[in-house]
């Protein structure tokens, strides 16, 4: 291109030639440039071109003899060919270089300009930018350069009008920087004479340089100007929301007391990309967690726009985003779906199409678009590669573009190209005004230079550098005393090696043999010190305005819909799961009912009446419901915990999440219960009860689901959850009422005449009772007879058992009374009186109840039923009363009996065999035996002063003595509550649903989790009885230590004693003699036999004296001045020891 242009209008001149030579030499080095320079010279005709073949190879164009038109056509052709091979960025650079060439000689002839213009057009550079480029290259004076796309770095007082300006002290002539917006290219030009260094190399005036990302301009006076500053200045035009991120004196302590971060101070504003680097264990992730608000620092503050992040979190909703190191993805969904649902949560007002467009955009920019329909899978079952998982992880946060973003190692595991792509994306975000913190490990040179600032941490959380990344290298090199410390990057290629920093920081001491020691030359505190002494970081004042938030969280209902949609999709996509869930219940029903479909051998076919296994079937169905419900839900919340953690930043509603889960589980349960009942009941030919069974089992399923959700949310590992399941299941089984009769349980928990309280809290008891009662009472056969049978049972019980019990009590009292009257010396009168009272007490208690029930028959002498007033008249009256009752109940019985018999007769007349066929089809004999408690020997029992009916519980109405109490015996056909009787079946189902509701409440408030956490916090050493044990343990150890000391010290047995007297508590003193005596003789006699003995003697004396008051001690000392002195001193020394 140059040769073409140079050839115009009289050929090349010296300046131009110089320019070309200089350029090629600088780019390629002397060796490489030579060939090209010769080629160029030949092309412009300075050297004779003998070699035709080589000329052709160089594609030399012979322009001689061509008309201008022909020439332009050729030039256009060449330009087009070039256009196809290079991208826009490169084209712009070429274009500017062309201009540069012409500029050297300032020969802006028409021809040349025409060529350049034509080239510009073919290169598809926009007109604006062509114009700007021209202005930039050609103009010498300030006015021509005062356009918006140029930036002045100027020391002058006058500021340019249209162009941007970065002030720089003491700079004589201005530096000009052109911005080509479409490709974010920057060109630099300097016309002055001062020393200015671009990336460590001095720049020539008159030349145009490419100002690449990460570049630094250093002037002899004044601060350096960084690439990011230039960019920021150009961006300052755009209205970005202002952000200030101030970290002051941040300190973080781990729970075990170790300090993770210390004395972190820095300030940032919007539009910056900040890197965090450090060796492993330096505290990078800790810092990230504290800065993003996940963990709270022990000291110091993080303020965003003046709002403290940790104390006023709700004001900063939606401002922060965090991309963690581990990928938190929903494994069952595809890449697209993961992103789609995440977006749905963030943008309330956008339509579905808009959201989908967004998702597509982000996918494309991260190179995931082709994989969008692949399922994510988990680390064991990877369906997309690790790098893609990482990119998806990033995409999830990127899509909502939070104003402040924290990224933890986005490039680990990615190829270098992918890494650059990701970092590019992040830096694009900063151009939009975001503040991004990135923890990065081993960045490549290109990525390293992308950062605006770098925070470097050393082990233990020390901040050892905060500033421009390339300067960091110079800084550390300087501190290491390296020679070329000023060269942050390689002058030729611009390559930067961040590893140098760590080599310097962690450099180890070398010992005299030349081997590396374990300790470092400079430890972290010193680095921190040096940094604080040297560099004063800028402090950005807190911005007053509210930080921008890009989050528009949808309302509760919408959230619910999204959760439902997502959960449903994720379940449905796992075919195994769906299949198992749908088939497990009916399969169990099939197996169970098939196994127990018993036909007695002398019957031709199966008869429901005779199947003895129906009752266990009912109970097993309930257990199946519990098990299935529990296992389906046990891992639900646990599995989601990573996702929940990520969504913490979105502040979504917990209740909508839980309700969505509950809805989905409930639907699954409904289907499972339905399938189970359909299969089981039809095989066992339980007729007409399907809906009832389904209602009860469905309620049980849901209850089990709720229990499962509770434990799923409370524990931190899946195994713990499963270990807990038997603990939940076995009490339900044991206290359900089927395996163990409630009357035959341990008396401590048993209740007489009522279901024990422990069983009342078991849902299985309620469901089992509901089904048993329903199956007996309302089946197609019994429903015709139940009311009358109930009456019959009631009357018969009263007549046969109740009245006779009362009658027996009466007879007993009468006999006792007679014995008293006989004054038989054998009997103790007091005892007899007690027995009378015992009998009368029963009457006193029961007769009023009975009078309430049967008001027609009364007993007037009720008040006389006491020992003193129990005359014969009274007993006769009572007897009469009882016989009246007997008759009454007899009549009642007959009435009911006749009703039943006539009904049976009627049926038999209408349809012979009706009774039997109906009975065989709908009624079960074994079930009847159980609900009627047929095998119970005691039909009636006396408890305190009441009579409790044990017989026929199914025909006995519930106890209605209290208004509120609903507790009753087992198999009661109805329940009494708040003044009304309710059918047991519906009442029990309602109770089970209430229990489920309670479980939901505990789930919402995370009650179980809190209990476990509280239990974990109990400091066991503070409990009283444990305290003593621990102290005793400590004392024993002290003794052992002392014994060991004595064994090693030959001289100081005396001091040991004295020490012991000081240190140990009284209880240990008696032990002392045991320890000392055997040792002393052995050790001391060989050493100093003569000296020690008198000492010992004195010591023996003195020891008791230590207990005595001081006066005597002083006298002793006065007696033996010499010895006391020496011994005193040794004692004192030893005391100190």
């Amino acid at each position: 291109m140059w040769s073409i242009i140079a050839n115009q209008d009289g050929g090349i001149d010296d300046k131009e030639l110089q320019y070309v030579e200089g350029f090629l030499t600088q780019q390629l080095g002397a060796e490489g440039a030579r060939e090209h320079i010769i080629g160029f010279k030949k092309d412009v005709g300075l050297i004779e071109d003998d070699d035709e073949a080589a000329a052709k190879k160089r594609k030399k164009i012979d322009f001689s003899g061509l008309t201008p038109v022909q020439m332009s056509v050729k030039i256009l052709g060449i330009s087009r060919r070039i256009t196809k091979t290079i991208n826009l960025k490169q084209r712009i650079i070429v274009y500017i270089r062309l201009f540069e060439l012409v500029n050297t000689s300032k020969r802006f002839t028409e021809q040349r300009m025409a060529i350049i213009d034509a080239v510009g057009e073919v290169f598809n550079i926009s007109k604006e930018e062509l114009k700007d480029s021209k202005s930039f290259v050609v103009n010498e004076n300030t006015e021509g350069l005062d356009i918006p796309s140029i930036l002045f770095i100027s020391g002058k007082e006058e500021k340019p009008v249209n162009a941007k300006c970065i002030p720089s002290e003491g700079l004589a002539s201005d530096i000009y920087i052109l911005r080509v917006a479409s490709e974010e290219l920057y060109f630099l030009r300097y016309t002055g004479t001062d020393d200015v260094y671009l990336n460590g190399q001095a720049i020539n005036s008159g030349r145009i340089y490419l100002f690449a990302p990460g570049s630094t301009l250093k002037m002899s006076k004044g601060k350096p100007v960084y690439y990011s500053d230039v960019v920021a200045t150009f961006q300052a035009d755009k209205t970005f929301a202002n952000l200030s991120f101030n970290v002051e004196n941040l300190e973080f302590k781990f729970p075990n007391g170790a300090i993770g971060l210390r004395n972190i101070n820095f300030s940032e504003c919007q539009g910056r990309l900040v890197g965090i680097m450090g060796a492993s264990g330096a505290g990078k992730t800790t810092l990230l967690n504290v800065l993003s608000g996940i963990t709270t620092p022990s000291q110091g503050s993080v303020k965003i726009n003046g709002i403290n992040l940790h104390t006023e979190k709700d004001k900063l909703e939606g401002v922060i985003g965090l991309i963690p190191q581990d990928d938190l993805l929903i494994e069952e969904l595809t890449v697209y779906e993961n992103l789609y649902f995440s977006a749905k949560f963030c943008f309330k007002t956008e339509t579905d199409e808009q959201i989908r467009a967004r998702v597509d955009n982000v996918l494309k920019s991260l190179g995931l678009y082709e994989r969008k329909d692949l399922k994510v899978g988990n680390s064991l079952n990877k369906l997309i590669s690790g790098g893609q998982r990482k990119r998806l992880n990033i995409a999830l946060e990127l899509i909502r573009e939070p104003s402040i973003l924290f990224v933890d190692e986005p490039t680990s595991g990615l190829s270098s190209r992918d890494s650059v792509n990701v970092m590019d994306l992040l830096s694009e975000l900063t151009l939009k005004g975001k503040l991004i913190f990135v923890v990065i490990h081993q960045p490549s040179s290109e990525i390293y230079k992308m950062f605006d600032k770098m925070i470097i941490l050393d082990t233990g959380g020390y901040l050892v550098y905060y500033g421009h990344p390339v300067d960091a290298i110079s800084y550390f090199k300087r501190h290491d005393g390296q020679i070329n410390a000023d060269e942050g990057e390689c002058p030729k290629c611009g390559n930067v090696n961040p590893e140098i920093i760590f080599d310097v920081i962690e450099a180890r001491v070398v010992d005299e043999y030349g081997k590396f020691q374990d300790n470092r030359k400079v430890n972290p505190e010193e680095w921190e010190d040096r940094f604080h002494k040297g560099v004063k970081p800028e402090i950005i004042p807190d911005v007053d305005t509210e930080p921008p938030r890009n989050l528009n969280v949808p309302g509760w209902l919408s959230q619910l819909r999204i959760y439902l949609h997502r959960d449903f999709k994720s379940k449905v996509s796992n075919l195994q799961y769906v299949f198992l869930n749908l088939t497990e219940a009916p399969l169990l029903g099939l197996i169970l009912s098939f196994l127990i479909r018993y036909t007695s051998p002398n019957r031709a076919s199966y008869i429901f009446f005779e199947n003895e296994n129906i009752v266990p079937y009912i109970f097993m169905s309930i257990i199946v419901a519990l098990f299935l419900g529990l296992t389906v839900s046990a891992e639900e919340i646990f599995r989601d915990r990573k996702i929940l953690k990520r969504e913490e930043f979105l502040n979504l509603s917990r209740s909508s999440y839980l309700v969505a889960k509950v809805i989905i589980l409930t639907c699954i349960s409904a289907i499972q219960a339905f399938l189970y009942v359909i299969v089981g009941n039809s095989i066992l030919q339980i007729v007409g009860m399907n809906l009832s069974y389904w209602l009860v089992l469905f309620a049980m399923f849901v209850f089990a689901n709720m229990m499962g959700l509770n434990i799923s949310s409370a524990f931190n590992s899946a195994v713990t959850i499963y270990i807990l399941i038997p603990l939940l299941m076995i009490p339900q089984m044991a206290l359900g009422g089927s395996m163990f009769s409630f009357d035959k349980l341990n008396q401590i928990i048993g209740s007489v005449g009522r279901v024990p309280i422990v069983a009342e809290i078991m849902a299985s008891r309620w469901s089992y009772e509901a089904l048993m009662v329903k199956q007996f009472k309302d089946n197609g056969f019994e429903i015709d007879y139940y009311e009358k049978e109930k009456q019959k049972s009631y009357a018969s019980f009263k007549q046969v058992s109740y009245v006779s019990a009362l009658s027996d009590a009466l007879t007993y009292a009468v006999d006792c009374r007679d014995s008293i009257e006989e004054e038989d010396p054998e009997y103790d009168i007091e005892r007899l009186k007690q027995e009378i009272d015992y009998g009368l007490a029963l009457l006193r208690e029961e007769v009023p109840n009975e009078m309430r029930r049967v008001p027609e028959i009364t007993l007037d002498c009720l008040d006389k039923l006491y020992v003193e007033s129990f005359t014969e008249d009274v007993s006769d009256e009572v007897e009469e009363y009882l016989s009246e009752l007997d008759h009454y109940y007899g009549k009642l019985f007959n009435l009911a009996e006749n009703e039943i018999e006539s009904r049976k007769r009627y049926y038999e007349e209408q349809k012979p065999g009706y009774y039997l066929t109906r009975r065989n089809k709908y009624f079960n004999e074994k079930l009847q035996d159980i609900v009627k408690n047929v095998f119970e020997k005691n039909k009636i029992i006396r408890y305190e002063n009441r009579l409790i009916q044990q017989q026929d519980p199914i025909f006995l109405d519930a106890d209605n003595s209290t208004w509120f109490g609903f507790r009753s015996h087992f198999y009661a056909p109805n329940k009494w509550f708040m003044g009304r009787y309710y059918d047991t079946f519906y009442f029990n189902i309602v109770v089970i649903w209430l229990m489920s509701l309670l479980c939901y409440v505990t789930l919402y408030f995370d009650v179980l989790k809190r209990v476990i956490e509280w239990a974990g916090k109990i400091n066991f050493s503070k409990l009283p009885f444990l305290k003593k044990i621990i102290e005793r343990q400590k004392n024993k150890e002290i003794q052992k230590l002392l014994a060991a000391e004595k064994a090693s010290k030959a001289v100081d047995s005396k001091s040991d004693k004295a020490d012991k007297a000081e240190r140990l508590e009284r209880p240990e003193r008696p032990e002392r003699p045991k320890l000392e005596r055997p040792e002393r003789p052995k050790l001391e006699r060989p050493d100093r036999p003569k000296l020690e003995r008198p000492d010992r003697g004195e010591r023996r004396e003195r020891l008791p004296k230590i207990e005595r008051p001081d006066r005597e001690k002083k006298e002793e000392k006065n007696d033996n001045p010499q010895n006391t002195d020496s011994e005193d001193s040794t004692e004192n020394v030893d005391k100190k020891e």
């Binding site: 339905f674 359909i678 007729v687 007409g688 009860m689 197609g780 006749n898 009627y906 009774y915």
Partner: protein, 239 residues
């Protein structure tokens, strides 16, 4: 996508309807019954007469003892199959059945067929519970007695006592129809046993006994005739 939803919902709805009516299908046979005022008034007859009948005719045990002494081997085909009794629906039949089984129990005991006794006892208990006269049988005691050979006499006495008490109770409660049926059942079954045995092995003793039954029948029939109802009428006729 939405189409799939609708189709599956429809399927679910139809399935549910099936579900609910699963019981409906078989329910077409249900017969409506309206209660009538049919207080069956009881019949009073002399308890003395009843007592006489009870004590007069040979108790089943006696009968059985006689059969055994004549060295007729045990034959289960004479006996009522206890399971049949399960299908006795009305109290009329149940009372009769109770009588049959009691007689058979005696027979079994004489031949010391303790293994079969249990079956009979279970059915006796069930029947008596149904009739609400279970309180008169001490089943534990009965079981013990019936399964040991030596206590035939006590079994005899006990059973007579029980029956008397039961009878009294039934009559006191205006259920004397059942009492009569019970006695009839016992008598009928004993008669049957003897006649069957006599068929196989005729002896004069048997002939005499059978003859005696005629007198008892004469005493029984008037009592039975006192009761109303189709069942009794047919019973009387067949007798």
């Amino acid at each position: 996508m939405h189409k799939k939803w609708y189709i599956s919902l429809m399927l679910a709805a139809t399935a549910l309807m099936q579900f609910n009516c699963a019981g409906c299908g078989g329910d077409d046979g249900h017969i409506e019954y309206h209660e009538e005022d049919n207080l069956v008034s009881d019949v009073n007859f002399d308890s003395q007469a009843m007592n006489e009948i009870i004590s007069s005719f040979s108790s089943p045990v006696e009968m059985a003892a006689m059969i055994q002494s004549s060295e007729v081997p045990f034959s289960p085909k004479y006996l009522v199959n206890p399971d049949v009794v399960k299908d006795y629906t009305s109290s009329f039949k149940k009372a009769l059945g109770l009588g049959f089984l009691s007689a058979d129990l005696g027979y079994l005991n004489v031949y010391s067929k303790t293994s079969l006794v249990i079956d009979y006892l279970v059915q006796i208990r069930s029947l008596s519970e149904d009739l609400k006269v279970g309180q008169f049988f001490d089943f534990q005691l009965l079981k013990r007695l019936a399964t040991s050979d030596d206590n035939i006499d006590s079994l005899l006495i006990m059973s007579v006592q029980s029956y008397q008490k039961m009878d009294e109770h039934l009559r006191n409660n205006q259920r004397s129809n059942l009492s009569a049926l019970l006695v009839t059942g016992v008598w009928l079954e004993s008669l049957y046993l003897i006649t069957q045995v006599a068929k196989d092995q005729y002896s004069d003793d048997f002939k005499d006994r059978i003859g005696e039954q005629k007198t008892i029948l004469n005493q029984l029939l008037p009592i039975l005739k006192l009761f109303h109802g189709k069942d009794f009428e047919s019973l009387v006729q067949s007798l």
